[in-house]
Amino acid sequence: MPAPPLEIHDMTVAYHRKPVLWDIDLVAPEGQLIGIIGPNGAGKSTLIKAVLGLAPLASGQVRIYGLPYAQQRHLVGYVPQRETVDWDFPVTALDVVMMGTYGRLGWFRRPGAAERRLAQSCLEKVGMQGYAPRQIQQLSGGQQQRIFLARALAQDAHIYFMDEPFAGVDAATEQAIVTLLQSLRDGGKTVFVVHHELQSVRNYFDFVILLNLRLVAAGPTATTFTRQNLQQTYGGRLTILEEAAEAVRLGEPPR
């Protein structure tokens, strides 16, 4: 049996020793659109960052198609949250999309005509071909998000991790992004999307990961996105986990 695109074993993520995600165990299926759902501060972005090696693991391990991330980088594409970058940076839309090819090129090699053509075609796929020479500050929020998606397409990955691609975009862009994600899925890619708009979950995702400091449930949307699981994800504060995390941070049991 081939290795799954993403497998997480007993992963705990901690910042300054304080755990923010507890004991995650997860196997994700291939070729599906997968929603990562949970309230604010549930650790949705942290889950992605931990998988990509951007957040420190306190314990556990992550496997991408059976191997550690460092060996599988070329299979993975990443779309960070839009506000994590400085849009005043002196680059054009095409430059940003071309950055998607940098990982493949490796150190020192510069992108050439082939990469430029690829970036151009990725811009076309997100309907932004007319905007290639624009400085990125001059684009609307939805257009900036499309540029990020085009960049991910240029990464030509098997698995994509997207952090809130729908945040702050207009309805038309949201629809365009969904269509694009579906076509990626139909092409056999596995796409993880951090999402917090509950109404659209059933329409968008084949598989959901419900998260709130710990894994509440993971499975096909039809059977997993249930009222009971949602109540567990969103209902009540997880006082025990929070107290435990605080105790670890302080280094002693609180009195």
Binding site: G53, F89, P90, G130
Partner: protein, 461 residues
């Protein structure tokens, strides 16, 4: 070559030496400065230049003299150490980035001062020299290199500049992506943290190599000002680097000229020149500049006055007022002073208005444009009443503001959203769409909105 150079007039030779060394130093700093400005860590150069002091003292004690190789090694070590400590204080201590920088750099600088007092007898640390450097004396400190007497300054700054240029060219894409999106870079295997340390190492070494020549004021100025100025003038990274280079050289040349005229040390005027370049760019930059903003605002004001005049004349026609309004009356009615006169003149020139028997009269093209404006105005009024639930007597003023900014597409969207797009809330007819497109649409087009292509036709009848 030696003969050629020796035969030069002494003051000219002096000028070539000073400007040459200053220009090379400035460029070395300005190139790195571009990255610092883009990463919003401009003051790091300032901080690093102080923090390397203990490294310099240790290097001096170990080498027994001001040996440039030892000094650069000391600077490199302490530069990396300070960067590391700043990160640690920031991350582990939960201290904001700027404060952690302040804590580490002031502490190390103070440690350096203590070390000098304790071990550094004979270190040449003249305050004047630290501030201004020895750029004016550059030709008196020479070394013999392959039979030629060359300024000692060149021996330290040329290799440093060469390393900076080589690193930037070799790691162009790596530095670019790790400055723009460090997280993505790291996931791709381009370790952003490593590149950050590399950049800081270059800044530390460049600072120390430049320090002795041009002093701290010019080093700090060159690490920040040319990059910041260039960023105002372009939105391409490569052009930003080239412009910053040109500005760094320009500051050296003009600063030297000013230093002769004012009879002061050259480093100060060079930094002042960089500041003046920035001022000029801030005023004149096409996109962010103060002048161009003023011009844009004036153009918008004039357009609004023109449109107010047209719409007013249209409403008078609509009310079948027989008497023609005079120019004075018209500008007074829309509350515009001299700008109103300019507006009338420009309307006449566009052929949207003519004077008949001393009164103002809309031409056909003027009437079409006016109808478009009144249409926008009344559509907006209707929209506010229907969708925002405002009372009918509250909607005129906001519509008066908005009518100038409603293009064809927005108007269509409003129509689609209204139950009745033929009558405004006051019971007046909303003019039908005309072939003339309001000016606002052509405005958008000029800024290059590809989706609005083709809306301009018939604009200027």
């Amino acid at each position: 070559m030696a003969n050629w150079f020796a035969s030069l007039d002494a003051s000219l030779r002096d000028a070539v030496f000073v400007v040459g060394v200053a220009a090379l130093t400035n460029v070395a700093c300005a190139l790195l400065g571009c990255y610092l400005v883009l990463r919003r860590m401009s003051l790091l150069g300032d901080a690093l230049s102080h923090a390397v002091l203990p490294g310099l003292v240790v290097a001096f004690v170990m080498a027994g003299s001001l040996n440039i190789v030892y000094m650069l090694a000391g600077a490199l070590a302490v530069g990396l150490l300070t960067t590391f400590l700043t990160q640690v204080v920031h991350r582990q201590g939960g201290v904001p980035a700027d404060a952690s920088m302040g804590v580490v750099f002031t502490s190390l600088f103070a440690l350096g001062v203590v070390l000098i007092k304790r071990y550094g007898q004979g270190v040449d640390l003249d305050p004047d020299c630290v501030l201004y450097g020895q750029i004016d004396l550059v030709e008196f400190y020479t070394v013999n290199l392959g039979g030629y007497e060359v300024p000692r300054a060149l021996v330290s700054i040329v290799p440093v500049l060469a390393v900076n240029v080589a690193v930037i060219l070799l790691l162009w894409k790596e530095l670019k992506i790790s400055s723009f999106d460090p997280a993505l870079a790291t996931t791709m295997g381009i370790n952003a943290e490593l590149l950050f340390y590399l950049l800081m190492a270059l800044v530390a070494v460049t600072t120390v190599a430049s320090f002795e020549q041009v002093g701290s004021i010019l080093v700090i100025a060159m690490l920040i000002v040319p990059g910041a100025t260039a960023h105002l003038l372009t939105d391409r990274l490569s052009r930003m680097m080239l412009i910053a280079t040109a500005l760094a050289i320009g500051s050296a040349v003009l600063g030297y000229a000013a230093s002769l005229a004012w009879n002061v040390a050259a480093a100060g005027p060079m930094a002042v020149m960089a500041g003046l370049f920035y001022l000029a760019a801030a005023l004149a930059s096409p996109r962010y500049g103060i002048v161009s903003t003023l011009v844009r605002n004036a153009q918008t004001s004039l357009r609004i006055v023109r449109e107010d005049l047209l719409a007013m004349l249209y409403r008078l026609e609509e009310l079948r007022v027989e008497r023609r309004l005079g120019a004075r009356e018209a500008t007074k009615a829309i509350g515009a002073g001299i700008l109103g006169d300019v507006g009338l003149w420009s309307l006449a020139r566009r052929g949207e208005l003519k004077r008949v028997d001393g009164g103002l009269q809309l031409t056909d093209s003027g009437r079409r444009r006016a109808a478009g404006l009144v249409r926008s105005h009344r559509l907006w009024e209707a929209y506010l009443v229907q969708h925002l639930g405002l009372p009918a007597d509250h909607v005129h003023t906001p519509a008066e503001r908005m009518e100038h900014f409603i293009g064809q597409r927005l108007a269509e969207h409003i129509v689609a959203d209204l139950q009745d797009a033929h009558q405004d809330p006051h019971g007046r007819a909303i003019p039908a769409p005309t072939t003339t497109v309001p000016e606002v649409a052509t405005e958008t087009r000029r800024h290059g909105d590809a989706t609005d292509e083709g809306t301009e036709k018939g604009g200027r009848g």
